[in-house]
């Protein structure tokens, strides 16, 4: 095969295209507002961490991060707990209506959150869960549970059945086999599923904003309110944006080899 000389150039150009907007955000978060609006500079003339200080010292800002972390963690745990047995069932057994059930789960991953915004608001208000973390965590299960089932099913198919059968012959009960042997075997799959649940719950805005007002308001929703209300505190807005990117950037390092598999619903 002839070596493509163009390829490094294309690659670098693409990465630049991806990174320049992020660079602009980071740079903006390190400038005072006067410089953002007044002078047009590629590097901050007056390096300041004031914007970050504003966020990290004001409870109405940093509680947003705490809230987001709480419901994202709850959602990830709930999703994995219910998805594990289901994925096992789908990967090992044939039962009445299994294909239809699987398709029905898929439709929930594909359902537009906008359709569910209003009914969710009413449902969770009527059971007194409005503005609680668990409400958002449960609402996000709508798309995260199907996703977790799909990813885990993909990983579980790679585990040979003989292992199950040997364990059962050796006298393991189902629960003990599942928790002691099977779960450790698909640990990477669980990690990837957890990562994707974490991520999709972290990036979602519409439902989490609709279901919260004060006590459980996520950082992403607090950001939008700042844009519309006080309008132009660009520096703080940029700093908040940078801070929301960091968790994703950290976890991505750990799952870098599995990202494609996760996005392909466990099918690569």
């Amino acid at each position: 095969m002839k070596k493509l000389r163009l390829s490094p150039i294309i690659m670098v150009a693409y990465l630049l295209f991806l990174l320049v907007p992020i660079y602009w955000l980071v740079i903006m978060s390190l400038k005072p507002n006067s410089e953002i609006l007044g002078a047009f500079t590629l590097f901050p003339q007056e390096l300041t961490f004031e914007n970050y200080r504003t966020i990290l010292t004001d409870p109405s800002w940093y509680m947003g991060f705490v809230n987001s972390f709480i419901y994202v963690t709850m959602n990830t745990i709930i999703s994995l707990c219910v998805a594990l047995p289901a994925a096992y069932a789908f990967s090992r057994y044939r039962f009445m209506g299994d294909n239809h059930l699987f398709f029905w789960l898929l439709t929930n991953r594909m359902a537009p959150p906008a359709v569910f915004a209003l009914p969710f608001f009413q449902l969770y208000s009527s059971v007194n869960l409005f503005d609680t973390h668990i409400a958002v965590a449960l609402a996000h299960c709508l798309f995260n549970v199907p996703l977790a089932v799909w990813i885990l099913e993909g990983f579980m198919r790679g585990v040979p059945r003989e292992i199950d059968e040997t364990a059962f012959i050796d006298g393991y009960g189902f629960t003990r086999f599942f928790t002691r042997i099977f779960v450790p075997m698909i640990a990477p799959g669980i990690g990837v599923a957890a990562f994707f649940c974490f991520m999709f719950s972290w990036v979602e805005l519409l439902l989490s904003r609709t279901l919260t007002s004060v006590d459980a308001k996520p950082i992403t929703a607090i950001m939008t309110r700042t844009v519309s209300a006080s309008g132009l505190d660009w520096g703080v807005l940029a700093a908040a944006g940078v801070l929301t990117i960091i968790p994703g950037a950290i976890v991505i390092y750990f799952v870098r080899g599995y990202i494609a598999k996760g996005f392909a619903l466990g099918r690569v």
């Binding site: 990174l19 709930i78 057994y93 039962f95 359902a111 494609a260 690569v268």
Partner: protein, 291 residues
């Protein structure tokens, strides 16, 4: 792998079933209810039958939003799929460089949707944004908040920025599964770069490409947050896509009936697409298992 029939597997699926029923079936029934009723002050309801559906199908609002939506989804597919394939072909094959590329490329995928909107907002504004300033300095009139064409270009660029990496990552995973022997055989045959791509790489990427196309189509079909933050659906209604219009109707004007009817039709479209997706994917799974 041959599966054994076991009806007791239903017990393993039960928790998922209950949870998803709670967060999907109950809200869905509420929507169905509203779509056949008219409400006064949000607490008195009257049966109106198919009135809302008739009104909606006749109104231009739904069709306009649907038209914009279809155009948007087609444009981003036409850009993202070829670009994603190209990037995947250009990626380094192994080593720390490959890891670095993977991590950098995945970065936009993990940014909260509204932060993506914010990033592009500050990047494209002509007063404080790098892109906006650059384009203006080149001598173009550019203002995405006032000019519909500029708004479209910005929204499309944002989506390409946000999601092309997904296509590239999937294709890359597909390419990695090609054994080296294939390339060596091609080299012996002195196959051109194009025919290597056409006859070896493209067929191997078929499965992941199907997933990429359909995921991108569906996710772009329900895009809400990014354009909402960037343009708010404007200028005018120029970038008001289906989800934005629906949320405006349901939570902004509180028109429960029409919004519910809108939701159901929207959902049916998605359902239809998902069904095609599912059938195609199962079929290609089977084909792969046989070959």
């Amino acid at each position: 792998m041959e599966k054994t029939a076991n009806q007791r597997a239903w017990f393993l699926v039960l928790p998922v079933l209950l949870l998803v029923a709670f967060s999907s079936v109950i809200p869905m029934m509420t929507v169905v209810n509203y779509s056949f009723q008219d409400s006064f002050g949000g607490n008195e309801f009257f049966w109106v039958g198919l009135e809302w559906y008739r009104e909606l199908l006749r109104s231009e609002r739904l069709w306009d939003a649907l038209g914009r939506q279809l155009m948007f989804s087609s444009i981003i597919l036409l850009i993202e799929i070829p670009l994603g394939i190209l990037v995947a072909l250009c990626m380094p094959k192994k080593g720390w460089l490959a890891s670095l590329c993977l991590v950098l490329m995945a970065l936009p995928l993990l940014i909260p949707y509204n932060v993506v909107g914010t990033i592009w907002q500050v990047f494209a504004r002509s007063d404080i944004g790098l892109l906006g300033r650059f384009v203006t300095d080149l001598g173009f009139e550019y203002n995405y908040a006032q000019n519909a064409a500029d708004a479209w270009v910005t929204v499309v660029a944002m989506d390409v920025w946000h999601w092309t990496s997904l296509v590239a990552l999937l294709c890359y995973a597909g390419l990695r599964s090609i054994p080296d022997a294939y390339y060596q055989a091609a080299e012996i045959d002195q196959a051109s770069r194009w025919s290597v791509f056409r006859h070896i790489e493209l067929p191997k990427m078929r499965g992941v490409l199907i997933i990429a196309v359909l995921l991108r189509f569906m996710d772009s079909f329900m895009i809400y947050t990014e354009p909402f933050v960037l343009t708010g659906g404007g200028p005018g209604n120029a970038t008001t896509f289906l989800s934005i219009d629906l949320v405006k109707m349901a939570l902004g004007q509180f028109d429960l009936g029409p919004a519910a009817a809108f939701s159901l039709m929207y959902f049916l479209v998605i359902l239809l697409i998902s069904y095609v997706f599912y059938t195609v994917m199962i079929a290609s799974d089977k084909e792969e298992a046989q070959s």
